[in-house]
Subunit: 161 residues, 2 copies
């Protein structure tokens, strides 16, 4: 098994993984990302994300995509793990654990005291896996979002300056 940093040449495979993860998360039609967008956003001078690729016997097996967030309580950056995924045929080989360990190693190397992510409440195999990795669940915090028309409406109001 190999874990390595993604390059521009991996973008088509990254998009394939993103779509496969969305399908697993029961949102197969939610992905509107494009190769051009992922290339632009992840591989410029100030990338919005970083990505690790896992390979088994030279074949793409999984990925982890993450970026920096910021803790005002800690007063320093943390790492937010947006996606972690292992192809079904490569599960049970420790690839997910190796990806999570490598992201944790990046966090420690960068001086980030926290690695954070989200999991769907019905995804019990993942929840059990994360708990075994030492994760805690911050269930008193609810996730809130404004998007689409609601975001446009909220943004459109004139602000007193």
């Amino acid at each position: 098994m190999t874990i390595r940093t993604a390059t521009e040449a991996d973008v088509p495979q990254i998009l394939t993984f993103i779509r496969a993860l969305a399908a697993y998360e029961r949102e197969p039609d939610a992905v509107t990302a494009t190769e051009a967008g992922l290339l632009h956003d992840g591989f410029g001078p100030n990338p919005f994300y970083q990505c690790l690729m896992a390979e088994q016997d030279g074949r793409p097996a999984g990925f982890a995509l993450f970026f920096f967030n910021y803790s005002t309580w800690k007063g320093c950056p943390g790492i937010y793990l947006e996606d972690i995924f292992v192809q079904p045929e490569f599960r049970g080989l420790g690839i997910g654990k190796a990806l999570l360990q490598q992201v944790a190693a990046v966090a420690v190397q960068k001086g980030c005291p926290r690695l954070q992510w989200e999991v769907l409440d019905w995804n019990t195999p993942a929840i059990d896996f994360y708990r075994a990795m030492g994760a805690e669940f911050l269930d008193e915090w609810r996730n809130v979002r404004v998007s689409g028309d609601a975001l446009q409406r909220l943004a459109a109001v004139e602000i007193a300056q």
Copy 2:
């Protein structure tokens, strides 16, 4: 009321707001952030966060602190609102709404389709306010974290390369 972008001179006030918000969130001892850290992380060439300051009659009234996250489904950056806070003596004047609107305006201006944040499940005044602003609650997603000794242990394991 004035909403403006924070400058380096606002860092002491930002830390005061961070501590006041932590006290409101029943974690008064959780803040270990320092002025030096906030200055370094928010005001260098590639800042980890951005901050808006609200003033009422020239006095500091509140703040909103945010950064970019990344949606792999949308294939573009979004905005994550880490902190929004209005001092108790300035509540009821629409300052929180103005701060949220200004952050939404930044999101729209930057082409971000989503503005996301978290709220404590017992904070019903905030939950009602966010709902009135058009927010949705993503309650099927649980927040997961590895930090401290658990992060060190996870990172320390040798990875097969």
